[in-house]
Symmetry: C2
């Protein structure tokens, strides 16, 4: 079979443990490309270009919008954030699994544009109160931001039904095992074009 | 979360290795119920009621059809074959993963009736010629039946795009690993009703 990748979308409230899951699973799910967002906001201390974000200026970002180079983008507090398609295309063509950590709106847009390549999973805590506890205990956000994250979570949770799979991150080891299974399964997703070309080759060989 | 199961549908040409995969994976995918078909045909030597099939008479089968007790059924060479819903419902309510080994038509009907609970995987050989080789080498079918199975395979393969995942059973160990991943992922599928009830409980706890 020609190598062609697939896409795994991971969404869920901030504080549910998406990053920890991906980190814990990363050596057990084969080669993947973790999609990095592009932004016009200034790098914070310790953030690196091409690792945390692709940092670009306003003009570059807007030129890329016009060129159709973004899967999705949004303006937040005057800064652009978006998902560039070019590195995604390259990773897919190299046969990699592309992992997106995006919100429910990004998921909806990606579904529309390349739904046949996508497996999606929603990660959440067992309860709202547990989410609040985790956000407060990690101590990285002030009270105002915690409140905002909780408000967002209450909206995001409504979209669970739009996802293929749900991981309730209660027992972390179990959640990692589940995440590995979903990522391995996601690799077995065949886009429409790839599936049809497989069928043609299958019949003739 | 209330225990409620999910469904994994496995399809693919006869000879592609579905049964071997399920058998090899069965101790690594947790508790499941393997859906057994109901039929009016006579048991063959060694076949057991409740293991290979539920064997019933014509009248019972037709009464169950009228009662809406079948997910799907078909008449083949004068005998009925069908999937009874009762054991499936019971297994789902017990929180089990229900595994169906059914054909592409059965898959289409199941999708229509309970698609929100279903993860599906199509299993095939790397090529048509390899399928033919395997069918001939297992030596259980005479030439006429092998020909018939090949004809069916050429139709079934067209339905690959209707499935969530594709397993090309080339390297058996890899195929088993893939199957385990798909089965574990399938467990994380939440039916619409279960997802909405999860969301309600999540917000209030």
């Amino acid at each position: 079979m020609h190598r062609f990748g697939a896409i795994l979308i991971v969404s869920g409230p901030s504080g549910a443990g998406k990053s920890s899951l991906i980190k814990a699973a990363k050596n057990q799910i084969g080669e993947y490309y973790f999609s990095i967002s592009t932004t016009t906001r200034a790098p914070r201390e310790g953030e690196k270009d091409g690792v945390d974000y692709f940092f670009v200026d306003h003009e570059t970002f807007e030129a890329d919008i016009k060129a159709g180079e973004f899967l999705e983008y949004a303006q937040v507090h005057g800064n652009y954030y978006g998902t560039s398609l070019k590195p995604v295309r390259e990773a897919l063509e190299a046969g990699k699994l592309v992992i997106f950590d995006i919100d429910v709106q990004g998921h909806a847009i990606a579904r529309e544009r390349m739904g046949d390549l996508i497996t999606s999973v929603f990660v959440t805590t067992p309860s709202l109160s547990e989410l609040e506890r985790r956000l407060k205990s990690r101590g990285t956000d002030d009270e105002e931001i915690v409140k905002k994250r909780i408000q967002n979570a209450l909206v995001e949770i409504e979209y669970v039904t739009a996802y293929d799979f749900l991981i309730v991150n209660d027992d972390f080891e179990k959640a990692v095992d589940s995440f590995i299974a979903v990522a391995k399964a996601a690799r077995l997703k065949k886009g429409r074009k790839q599936a049809l070309s497989f069928v043609n080759r299958w019949r003739e060989s």
